[in-house]
């Protein structure tokens, strides 16, 4: 890799010195601190809220309940919750906001929260696992039920069949920064310092709820402390903070407590999936049948479209998918790194590993036999696909072929190897960017993109430097403010492809403008001679039909997706059921990689997320109430440094996708987190012969025991 490809992130000095400002770091003069009071039970009707004791607390200024709040206008997606809280006396999940305490200090607000008394008549909740199953409403963004060929006869034709159910527990994003919104009204206009992945989503939703003009709402968000999907859509607390600021006519800071984060924003739902595979004796798939059921809220809907994974990964002649929802009294889920194929591959790739074992074929060979040379459903060519190279290079870097020659024991640790395919569909969002090329030879990008840690600013500066032929230090970027030119969101692994393309297109327009000024390409000379302080161009990354969103190349001559191969080595202590990651190799086909250094960090993080999902993470619901049992980081396990070895190797196949974007790139953010769970389960089977189909794979499952307690 070249030095230019390994650029350190441009905002890093701000982050290592504490100078980077996140939403809750803003405290405008006169700010009131807000804390939510949540519903005390999973279902019921409020009969009264006694605020007297709370108001008696020194520093508590106001306690707002449904009767104090305005009647919110109807909100639509990208609102995550359509049945907004604090509007009626019914509550449908434990922790649903029923009051908001406003105080002069954080301490007073928290003391006030503890003093609010909520009286209620409890209703019988629908508990997890006991809810009714229903088909998700249509039209669906993703997750349509499909039937390609004749799945029944494909299943009947197969010489070898797999028919298994795969389960995964709910888990939360647990971003280090809990969501925060600071709301300030001045002369009827609203400013929000907000922790978001797409601030452009916020004004229309808040405006609809509060009966405002969206143009009167400004959202500022220079840094976001991790999103992973939890800060993508607009959540009720953002509306509540704004409504409260309007009521009290003072700035309001609502920085969710960790406890509230579990119920105020989404999570990845509990999923039960069934996969049926059939194949010929030589390993050719004859049918894939994939059904997925995801847990969901009573009044709001989120479909986890896990079956998408089975529609495009393998060249099966018959594919049938079906999605279901199972509603219970819990808050609504949302996309979480990695959604869609994330859950889907846990089931599909686990079943493929089981099929390989049943056929006594190397699991890598089984994947190669069934490689989809064209998109299976539409038969369209891929915009670019280097999955075969990813398999080959990943296997070489890992030493996959020689695994059976290596020792299988290291002290008490039994060693196992596993692999799986990674894949994510290509989400593309329309995006814009403005670039100013100045007579002093510097360039400035202006785009309302976000910094959630994916390296966007660095990547965009690199793109502009390369397009304009400028040294990288001459390029700067302004981001994180709705006053800047609208850009794409930073979710769905889409930002580099969308906003990055818009930056490149703006730069190409600037070069055309320079060309019209005269010969040569030195902006200092050309602009100086023309007497221009700067030239400006807007770039727009557009999608077929002028749509704001495009999945998988729909409406184009090409199908689009990203792929990879993940190989893991685990150690199992069979006496205690402990499982440890020893090393991992991920090799990916994701188009051109703009900045290798930040891309490697992102993929490494994805693999670690996959490890957490596979072996640690679960948000457990109380079986008697359905409420989240632990709403903190003390009792909800996520990987820490001691869990993770340094031996994680990332490889990107050399690739340029000329169809998916204007810069050769597709997306990488979520890809690395897919398939890891299935590879880990296979490695555990390889080590100790125990096949586990329920995530997370905790020690008691490896020991073949019943759940503790």
């Amino acid at each position: 890799m070249t030095a230019a490809q390994t650029m350190s992130r441009v905002e890093a000095p701000l982050k290592v010195t504490g100078a980077a400002k996140y939403a809750a770091d803003h405290t405008p003069p006169g700010t009131l601190h807000a804390v939510l009071v949540g519903a005390p039970a999973p279902a019921g009707r409020i009969t009264g809220i006694d605020t007297a004791a709370a108001l008696a607390e020194c520093g508590v200024v106001k306690v707002l309940t449904a009767k104090d709040m305005p009647r919110f206008g109807e909100v639509k997606p990208p609102a995550a919750v359509l049945s907004l809280p604090l509007q009626e006396n019914i509550f449908r999940f434990e922790g649903e906001p029923v009051a908001l305490v406003l105080a002069e200090s954080i301490e007073a607000a928290e003391a006030g929260r503890a003093a609010v008394v909520v009286r209620f008549d409890a209703a019988t909740p629908v508990l997890p696992g006991s809810g009714w199953r229903e088909p998700p409403p249509t039209p669906r963004l993703l997750g349509d039920d499909v039937a390609l060929g004749d799945a029944a006869s494909g299943l009947a034709q197969g010489a070898v069949k797999i028919d298994q159910a795969y389960f995964q527990e709910a888990r939360h994003h647990n971003a280090m920064e809990t969501a925060a919104t600071v709301a300030q009204f001045e002369n009827g206009k609203l400013t929000l310092w907000d922790s978001v992945q797409a601030s452009g989503n916020v004004p229309p939703v808040v405006a609809a709820a509060l009966g405002m003009n969206a143009d009167d709402i400004r959202v500022i968000c220079p840094h976001t402390g991790g999103g992973f999907g939890s800060k993508g859509y607009v959540w009720p607390h953002q509306i509540i903070a704004a409504a409260a600021a309007r009521i009290v006519q003072r700035p309001v800071k609502l920085h969710l407590r960790r406890h509230d984060q579990f119920v105020c924003v989404g999570y990845q739902p509990r999923l039960e999936q069934r996969i049926q595979l059939a194949a010929t004796r030589d390993g050719r798939l004859t049918a894939i049948v994939h059904e997925a059921v995801n847990a969901c809220a009573i009044a709001d809907t989120y479909v986890e479209p896990a079956t998408e994974a089975s529609k495009s990964l393998y060249a099966a002649p018959a594919i049938r998918t079906r999605q279901w929802l199972e509603r219970s009294n819990i808050n609504v889920p949302t996309p979480m790194r990695a959604p869609v194929e994330g859950p889907g591959l846990w089931a599909l790739e686990s079943a493929m590993n089981e099929l390989a074992a049943a056929l006594e074929i190397d699991p890598l060979d089984l994947r190669l036999f069934n490689h989809a040379d064209v998109e299976p459903m539409t038969k369209k060519p891929w915009s670019s696909k280097k999955l075969r190279e990813a398999y080959q290079e990943g296997a070489r870097l890992f030493g996959w072929a020689g695994r059976d020659q290596r020792t299988r024991q290291d002290g008490p640790w039994r060693i196992g190897y596993g692999m799986a395919t990674s894949t994510m569909g290509s989400f593309r969002f329309a995006a814009g960017a403005r670039v100013r090329l100045k007579a002093d030879g510097t360039a400035r990008i202006e785009a309302n993109t976000h910094d959630i840690g994916t390296g966007t600013q660095t990547v965009f500066c690199r793109i502009a430097a390369e397009e304009l032929g400028l040294p990288i230090e001459n390029v700067s970027i302004a981001w994180g403010d709705t006053r800047l030119p609208p850009s794409g969101p930073v979710y769905g692994s889409s930002a580099t492809g969308g906003t990055g393309s818009a930056v490149a297109l703006a730069c190409r327009e600037l070069k055309a403008q320079l060309g019209r000024l005269g010969a040569g390409n030195d902006p200092r000379t050309l602009l100086g001679e023309a007497g221009l302080p700067e030239i400006v161009a807007d770039g727009a990354f557009t999608l077929p039909g002028g749509a704001p969103f495009n999945a998988n190349g729909d409406g184009t001559p090409f199908a689009m997706s990203t792929w990879g191969a993940i190989f893991v080595e685990v150690g199992i202590d069979p006496e205690f059921g402990l499982v440890r990651l020893r090393r991992a190799v991920g090799a990916y086909s994701a188009g051109r990689i703009i900045n290798l250094k930040t891309a490697i960090s992102q993929m490494t993080g994805g693999i670690i997320w996959g490890w957490g999902k596979a072996t640690m993470e679960e948000s457990v619901q109380d079986p008697t109430t359905g409420a989240w049992l632990a709403k903190n980081l003390s009792n909800v396990a996520v990987p820490v440094n001691a869990d993770i070895p340094s031996d994680i190797t990332i490889h990107f196949v050399e690739e340029y996708d000329e169809h998916a974007s204007a810069i050769g790139a597709r997306g990488i953010g979520e890809l690395g987190a897919t398939g890891v769970d299935a590879a880990v389960a296979a490695a555990i089977f390889d080590a100790v012969g125990v096949r586990i189909r329920e995530l997370p794979i905790l020690p008691w499952k490896i020991l073949g025991e019943h759940a503790p307690g």
Partner: protein, 181 residues
Amino acid sequence: MNQNRPSSATSRDLTWSRQVRVALTVNGRQFSDTVPARVTLLDWLREGAGLTGTKKGCNEGACGTCTVLIDGRRMNACLTLLAQCQGRSVTTVEGIAGPDGTLHPVQQAFIEHDALQCGYCTPGQVVSAVACIAEGHATDESSVREWMSGNVCRCSCYPQITAAVLDAAKRIGDKAQGGAS
């Protein structure tokens, strides 16, 4: 934290709403403030002293995001009452770089090894790493992994953090050796 207990408040008459006067040093600067006894060092740093580099992650000592140094020892600021800091010297992430802004070797190593993504845990990681090295725990990968495990990084930069801490320890060691010779 037993010595130098502030004489103005004893466990018998200390209630959470009682106002206590606290004088302490933060990043070499003297502060004194009168606050309710319940105010944590974390909330005071952020809302009282305007030092927002120290972040709130869990507010119960589980994530390490709020790590600061108190008399050189790393501590979760969310689990520390300001009242406990009477006479103490607190160092936050804002106090790690040199007075002229020269980055500390830990900060340089974090940038070079890309040991950060969203950056929200980074202040705590940096402060924790400075102490980890000073404690003599930055000897090898496995020791660093153990002694940096009080700081959760959800973006999951762990391999890069481990590499950065070891690299910074080497730089600091080399400098100390160079200085001694």
